[in-house]
Amino acid sequence: MKNKINNNEMKLEFLSKSNNEAFARISVAAFVSQLDPTIEEISDIKTAVSEAVTNAIVHGYEDSMGIVTIICKIHENEVYIEISDNGKGIENIEMAKQPLYTTRPNLERSGMGFTIMESFMDELNVQSILGLGTKVTMKKKIKQTEEIEDMPVTLEEALRG
């Protein structure tokens, strides 16, 4: 029987190395695949996770090494994702969330990270304390595909990209 697993949770911890970015988004996608999301929903989630994880690595820890933590929860048909670091924190969250705002234009950042998270997910919340770290939480409802003709994503497809 499908859709009987209605509550689930996982936690990931990894070093702030940029080659863990793919690992992070693929792991979350694989976990979320139990809700039978569409390819588009999976790709929205992967992109949002990639943005938050990259921010933790690039801005949070900069040149130092630290731990990035992801907690992912499934409740009914909603996905809750929490991505946190113990890095340098954000001085002005409202300003940081503005489209095109970046503190590192020299690194060819476009300043679109938070804007992408906001538009690809249903909800975005950013908490940060200077010197202590940043926590980004996001939520997204996965539409029930039973009645829709949409092809659900299998685990293999999610892993392939």
């Binding site: 990259t54 476009s110 679109m112």
Partner: protein
């Protein structure tokens, strides 16, 4: 990434075959800049047909190459997006 240079049209084509994120973009950027300076093409095309994943790092990379093209006072680069 596969690079093709068409001498007759002075056209440089980068076919990107990997996922684009902050990690992989460093390599793409380095190779692209190297080839652009080597060939000094009139036109540069980034082919994203085989790109299965891209985040803001990819946007930054395209904008960055565009600015570089302006610096080199070359004709604008065309970006072929298909996704």
């Amino acid at each position: 990434m596969i690079t093709n240079y068409y001498e007759r049209d002075k056209l440089l084509v980068f076919k990107i075959n990997e996922e684009i994120d902050e990690c992989t973009v460093k390599d793409i950027r380095r190779k692209a800049d190297y080839e652009i300076e080597r060939f000094m093409p009139r036109e540069v095309v980034f082919d994203f047909d085989n790109v299965t994943f891209m985040d803001s790092a990819g946007i930054g990379m395209v904008i960055g190459r565009f600015k570089q093209a302006q610096l080199l006072r070359r004709k604008d680069k065309n970006c072929k997006f298909k996704q």
